[in-house]
Amino acid sequence: MKASTLGVNKIKKLCISFIMAQVIFLGPLLSDPTYAQINSSKRVLKIAVFDTPFCPKLINKTKKNIEIFPPSLPFAAQRGPFVECYEDLFGRHGLHVLNHLLKVIPKLDYKIEIHPIIIYTRKGMQSERSWSNALQKAKEKKVDLLLLAVGLPSQKPLKVLSDLPFNTFMASGQISGRIRKSTLVWPQSIKSNDRSIMIGAYLPPTDQLPDQYLQDKTLLHVEKIDYYFSGGTYQDRLTGSSRAVTTALGKALLLCARINFIDGNLKALKKCLKSKKRDLKDSFSNFNFATF
């Protein structure tokens, strides 16, 4: 073979290697939606919170760039969506979730709207209908994300509700009262990995045991839990997986501030969270809690 042909072949090989290197190393980066979206991020992030009625006077002060909208009550069965504040002496679950969310949510360089949507009556009743109306309301508001520190328990599969067409941070739920491991809780029981991140709670260290983490054995849907956060102490108002999921959302926004929550696609966020993932361990067993 001629020397010139050999030389040309060498150059060809070099070019091919160079191109492959670019593809291998830069390709994922270029196709990464995170990267693709940074330059065209949305200006407003809308988060819907499904929960109980509450007294609006008891909501804490918000940070700049964060706005809490008046709560929506999709079915007008009650006289107004608010609990009379003198009834709400110790605060309902919905109030605690909102106040905790305000505490953990970071101040970012884009606006965050929080839309409370009530799914319970003032007497504490919920139904498939109240949920489906709430989902409809969320759709009308075009929310980007749902925060569910709640679920709909039932003994049998539901008739009306099927899939959950939103990106969701959902609490795994706990045993309490009538709710046991065998109780069906919607939407936790139909959690899909594409659109949902399920958060469970762990028992955090204490002053006397600063290194001890414990598994919370009252959690439901353990096999579906993606990450764990602290379930708070006995002195906290908001505890359990409700607290954990609210904290998780705040932390996710802080760590992955540049991720854009594209409709129907939580991939970018999940990828970002995976890169921040770290493990904690139950002090007595081999059970690991993934957190971020």
């Binding site: 069965a77 002496l89 919920q126 209908r129 009262g177 009538r178 028992l203 379930g231 102490t233 409700s242």
Partner: protein, 1235 residues
């Protein structure tokens, strides 16, 4: 080139790093004493000093590996163990000694080495010289031989020279001759040549040629002669040279021989000198060797001692660690058991409580619901059974009866029908039908119009005034599905009844080791078992309670549901079955009788008649109907619209008229406002206990007439008629009703239920459509208001502006806050109370005229003048009111304490404290001492006011030093202590750290300590300052560790420590006698024991001073040691002198007897009481025994002579007042007084 294996490329650098780095990786724990520079020999004692040159062969074990097995974090160091510390110190001392002696050995070795090296050089030099001498002698001999040989050869050489000369002469002559001949030949040649050139003939030429040849021949001969002559000259030269050489050689060699001789002479002298040096050096070497051997022997001895020290220390350390780990494990095991138990108990408690609460609530709910369902179903089943039965019996009966009748009737009908039809066909049915159809069509139009129009009109009329809402549905209980954790969490920091961290039977470090693991493992296990079991317990309690509540609720009989179920079941079953049964029987009977009717029967006849009539009628009717329908439909269609509109309008007008002429009420809401108490605190949004309430009501009146008959009731029984409710309005009736808040405690909830009544005056369906109970005239079911009972104003942060000092006025401050929704106008009066003995509030707060949100008041004043109010807890409380109506109270009482400068109180202990740091402890201590009158307080936080006493120091005081355990007081007091004299210090703190901290201060430098036993108190460490070692200290001052429990017991002992030797001896003399000596009271024993303890403390201090006065190898001041038995101011020597000065009789017998014990005490202290004897040097040990024996010398013989029996008895009970048990090594920690 071979390629290196890939793996090697990767691992080779790693291996290289490991190889080179491994020597650098040293185990830090195990240290051999072969370091350069400073090293930590004693491990974690902090007492190690300096580096050393060579070391022991036994490694010092400072391994910290035991901490890996230790559960929890050790709260102590091994050196906190007194014996460990002591062994480390001993080891260090021996190390230092070994160091010193090793240095000496090294120095000596160096000297010896130098000497030896020098000696070697000397010897080498000697040998060299001797060798040189020998060589020189040999050389000289050789030279001499050569000279002799040369001298012998001289004559022959001379002869040769002569011969050579002759040869030269001869050859020279020959040469000259040859030259002459040659010259002649040449002349001849020339001549011939000249001749031939003139006449060149052959003969001439032949002559010429011949002449030339001759010349040539002679030339050659001359050359030969020249050569010979030259050779002869050369030979002569050579011979002369040889002769000269020989002569020169002889001269040279002779001079060499001379030089050798001279050199050897010098060498011989040098050799003599060097030999002398060698001899001297040998002596030095011997001396140095001897010295070195001696020092090495000492070194060996110390080395052995060092190894032994280290071994003992290591062994003890090992044992100590073993004990610690054992105690730690025991703590862990105990904690695991206790923690588990308490965790489970707590889980049971909380889990059960919450589970029961939730179970009860849910169980009751579910039970009622299911009970109702069950009773309904039961009722339903029962109803079904009844219905079925009824259907069966009635069906058959009715079926047969009716079948018979029907059959007869069928026949009658059939036959009658035929007849009737025929008749009808011939009648006026068509004409009638037409007429009637027209009328009916009109009627229907009217009726339909009425129905539809009415409903429409009604709805329109209503919707004109109102709107309606939707219903909601539920699935489960209230707020089910919210995911906060309901199952109780473990309350942190809580400990249960089995929490017992005090280390059981352990003392000292084991106690702490036990505790360290106990606390950690307890909490860990408690939490673990709690969390593992609480859910199960909760669920179990929940299920159990749920079951129980459910059973109770379920067991109930729900009459209403049962009846409803029964009704429905009956109806359902009857309706389901009756028809079929009845039809079956009916069909059968019917067929029979239809075939064979009973024509005489009534039904037949009636049926026939009827059917005939009916058939007639029917056919008639049919004809009529057809005509009727046709005409009816036509007429209806023509009239329906007008009729509907007519009735719509009618109903619309009716309902409108009802609205126009009546009130139609709908309750919207009510509001409860606070109306104040006696006109005060109204409308501030706060509901106080006993405060009047005013209730506003919002009612809609859809009607156009005002409602004048409405009234309102409150759940407390009040009923008030409402004013007129305006028509077509949503009316807010302000102040519709007045009530009052219950006189309950602040923070509790008061509930009011408001109901509105208005009897109906018109159609209930319309007027009462919004009522909760139209028949009762109840408009709303009951509007509930729950309020928290509070005060509108709040007082907080009541405090003084600085620290209150006696006799100094100080501002009193308070924050006033407004929790209500409005500004408050005054005068608002603030009243402050305090639990002082005297009146201390010299000025109260001025009234506040106006309050918006918050206000800080500073105008009150407090001044304490009575001592009874200082250093005692004062609690201030405050309330605020207006016109006698309380509006608020202080959220938290203000507790303070008034301080006072130090005042001298003779006979009372002095409490030394920093009241800023340890206020609570101070108050507790004063309480124990009987209040402020029972003690003087030296408060270090009042440095300005207490400046004088801090400058002068304390004298003859029992000082109770209160420190928190962080040294704040103790370290700050050190300067004062240095100026103080003859005081006893009790360090009081619960953590028992005070004395340890004090020992780190300057005044306690080289302080002595040992752990004596005192009757009635026990064994505990006593520490005393060393005036020999601390410049400026005026005498030893004693210190002990105490806590709350032991403090009061120790004060009397402290008093004894302040007493001087003479006084103590006098006290003993008065209390010890024949009767009491062997059976003393505790007080007497204490006097004697304290005397001995004080005496021993003097020995310990002098021992220390002696040791520090010089080094181990010498240089110590013996005079110091001798003081032990010479210094008459010392206790035991004072005793000796007093005994010496007093004759033995009954009055002085006690002293003499005590003298025997004193000797015993001193002897045993020097030999068999490790706390003291371990530290004594041989000299001070001997001096101590001497001090004792000097006393014995004064008492032994007199006693034997005085009373032999007593003498024997005293020697059998020598140890009676000795304040320690000989042979014991008190391993106790500093805190023994407390045990």
């Amino acid at each position: 080139m071979k390629k290196r294996p890939r793996k090697l490329k990767v691992f080779a650098p790693l291996l290289a790093t490991l190889l080179f780095a491994s020597p650098l990786i040293m185990t830090p724990d195990s240290v051999f004493a072969q370091q350069n520079g400073r090293g930590n020999r004693g491990g974690d004692n902090g007492n190690s000093t300096g580096g050393f040159t060579t070391g022991p062969t036994i490694p010092i074990n400072n391994s910290k590996e035991w901490k890996n097995q230790f559960v929890g974090k050790p709260s102590f160091r091994l050196v906190d163990d007194k014996k460990m510390k002591k062994l480390n110190r001993n080891m260090d001392i021996v190390f230092n000694s070994y160091d010193d002696v090793s240095k000496v050995v090294k120095a000596k070795e160096k000297i010896l080495k130098n000497l030896t090296t020098q000696q070697t050089k000397n010897i080498q030099e000697l040998k060299k010289l001797e060798k040189e001498v020998i060589q020189a002698v040999a050389k000289k001999a050789k030279l001499q031989q050569e000279v002799t040989a040369l001298t012998k050869a001289l004559p022959s050489l001379k002869q040769k020279v002569d011969l050579a000369k002759a040869a030269v002469d001869s050859t020279a002559a020959a040469l000259a001759e040859a030259g002459v001949k040659l010259a002649k030949a040449k002349r001849r040649l020339l001549k011939l040549t000249a001749q031939c050139s003139a006449t060149p003939t052959p003969a001439c030429q032949a002559k010429v040629e011949q002449a030339k040849k001759n010349v040539q021949r002679l030339t050659n001969i001359k050359k030969q002669k020249e050569t010979l002559a030259t050779a002869a000259v050369t030979a002569l030269k050579g011979k002369k040279a040889a002769l000269k050489r020989a002569n020169d050689q002889i001269i040279k060699k002779k001079s060499l021989i001379f030089a050798i001789n001279s050199a050897n002479t010098i060498r011989a002298h040098k050799i003599t000198q060097v030999k002398a040096k060698i001899k001297t050096q040998k002596v030095k070497i011997n001396t140095a060797s001897a010295q070195l051997a001696q020092v090495k022997a000492s070194q060996l001895k110390i080395h052995t001692h060092l190894n032994a020290s280290i071994t003992i220390r290591n062994q003890y350390r090992g044992r100590l660690i073993k004990d610690i780990l054992r105690a730690n494990r025991e703590g862990e095991d105990a904690a695991a058991f206790d923690g588990r138990k308490d965790g489970l108990d707590l889980a049971r408690g909380l889990g059960s409580s919450y589970g029961q609460e939730d179970g009860l609530r849910d169980g009751n709910e579910d039970g009622v619901r299911d009970g109702k369902d069950r009773d309904y179903n039961n009722g339903y089943s029962e109803g079904v059974r009844i219905g079925e039965q009824r259907a069966r019996s009635e069906g058959e009966l009715d079926g047969n009866r009716e079948g018979r009748i029907a059959g007869n009737r069928d026949a009658g009908a059939r036959e009658g029908n035929t007849a009737g039809i025929n008749r009808a066909l011939q009648s006026d049915a068509a004409a009638i039908g037409q007429r009637q159809g027209t009328a009916a069509g009109l009627d229907r139009a009217i009726n339909s119009g009425k129905r539809d129009g009415t409903a429409k009109g009604e709805a329109q009329a209503i919707s004109k005034f109102e709107t309606r809402g939707l219903q909601s549905t539920t699935i489960d209980g209230p707020f089910a599905g919210t995911f906060e954790r309901r199952i109780p969490r473990m309350p942190t920091g809580q400990v249960g009844p089995n929490f017992r961290p005090d280390g059981g039977h352990y003392n000292g470090l084991m106690y702490r080791a036990f505790n360290d693991s106990y606390v950690l493992v307890y909490h860990s296990q408690q939490r673990r078992h709690f969390e593992n079991s609480v859910a199960t317990i909760y669920n179990r309690a929940y299920d159990h309670q749920h079951r129980a509540a459910y059973d109770v609720a379920y067991r109930g009989f729900y009459r209403e549901q049962f009846d409803a179920g029964q009704r429905n079941g009956d109806q359902f079953a009857f309706e389901r079955d009756y028809r079929g049964i009845r039809d079956s029987f009916f069909q059968q009977a019917r067929a029979n009788f239809s075939k064979n009717p009973d024509r005489s029967g009534q039904e037949y006849r009636e049926t026939y008649a009827r059917n005939e009539a009916d058939a007639f009628t029917i056919r008639y009717e049919q004809i009529r109907r057809d005509n009727f329908d046709r005409f009816e439909a036509d007429t209806f269609s023509a009239n329906i619209s007008s009729q509907t509109e007519k009735f719509r309008l009618l109903r619309f007008n009716e309902v409108t008229a009802l609205y126009e002429n009546n009130s139609v009420l709908d309750f919207v809401s009510s509001n409860m406002n606070d109306a104040g108490i006696n006109g005060v605190a109204a409308n501030d949004g706060i509901f106080q206990a006993g405060e009047a309430t005013v209730h506003d009501i919002v009612i809609k009146n859809f009607g156009k007439k005002a409602a004048t008959n409405a009234s309102v009731t409150l759940s407390d029984g009040q009923k008030v008629k409402l004013p007129m409710i305006q028509a077509s309005a949503m009316v807010t009736v302000k102040g519709a009703l007045k009530g009052s808040i219950a006189n309950a405690r602040t923070g509790s909830i008061d509930t009011k239920i408001l109901r509105v009544y208005a009897p109906l005056t018109a159609e209930a369906k319309i007027q009462g459509r919004h009522y909760d109970n139209p028949s009762q005239g109840l408009v709303n079911s009951g509007d509930q208001k729950r309020v928290k009972i509070q005060f509108p104003l709040a007082l907080s942060r009541l405090l003084t502006n600085g620290t209150p000092i006696i006799n100094e006025p100080i501002e009193l401050l308070v924050d006033l806050g407004n929790n209500s929704s409005r500004k408050y106008k005054g005068p608002l009066k603030i009243e402050v109370t305090v639990n002082s003995n005297g009146s201390i509030i010299t000025k109260t707060f001025n009234d506040v005229q106006s309050l918006d949100s918050t206000l800080r008041l500073k105008d009150a004043q407090v001044k304490v003048t009575s001592e009874s109010d200082v250093y005692t807890p004062l609690t201030f409380r405050a309330t605020i009111s207006k016109n006698g109506v309380p509006l608020g109270t202080l959220d938290q009482a203000f507790e303070t304490m008034v301080k006072a400068p130090y005042t001298e109180k003779p006979g009372r202990p002095v409490v030394i404290v920093n009241s800023e740091d340890t206020r609570v402890e101070l108050l507790d201590t004063l309480a124990q001492l009987g209040g402020i009158s029972g003690a003087a307080v030296l408060d270090l936080s009042l440095t300005g006011r207490n400046g004088e006493v801090l400058k002068q120091g304390l004298k003859n005081k029992t000082a109770i030093v209160i420190d928190r355990g962080n040294g704040n007081v103790i370290k700050n007091f050190d300067g004062v202590l240095a100026k103080s004299e003859n005081n006893v210090f009790l360090f009081v703190d619960q953590n028992k750290k005070g004395l340890e901290i004090a020992k780190t201060t300057a005044s306690f430098k080289d302080a002595g300590s040992f752990a004596p036993t005192i009757s009635g108190l026990g064994t505990g460490t006593l520490v005393f300052t060393n005036p020999h070692q601390v410049k400026g200290l005026k005498g030893a001052q004693f210190a002990m560790q105490a806590d709350k429990a032991t403090m009061t017991k120790m004060i009397p002992i402290a008093e004894l420590y302040k007493t001087n030797a003479t006084q103590l001896v006098a006290a003993m003399k008065s209390q010890l006698n024949r009767a009491t000596y062997f059976n003393p009271s505790t007080k007497t024993k204490q006097i004697a024991e304290v005397f001995s303890i004080k005496g021993l403390s003097e020995v310990v201090n002098l021992n220390k001073a002696y040791k520090e006065s010089g080094g181990w190898l010498g240089g110590r001041n013996k005079k110091i040691a001798k003081k032990i038995y010479q210094d008459k101011s010392l206790h035991f020597n004072t005793l000796r002198e007093i005994i010496k000065s007093q004759r033995l009789d009954e009055s002085s017998l006690g002293l003499y007897l005590f003298g025997v014990n004193a000797d015993h005490t001193l002897y045993k202290a020097a030999t068999n009481f490790d706390d003291i004897d371990d530290d004594l040097t041989p000299r001070t040990s001997s001096a101590t025994k001497k001090a004792g024996s000097y006393i014995e010398d004064e008492v032994k013989k007199p006693l034997k002579k005085f009373d032999k029996k007593l003498y024997s008895k005293i020697y059998d009970n020598k140890a009676i007042y000795t304040p320690f048990t000989p042979g014991t090594d008190t391993d106790e920690g500093i805190n023994s007084w407390s045990k």
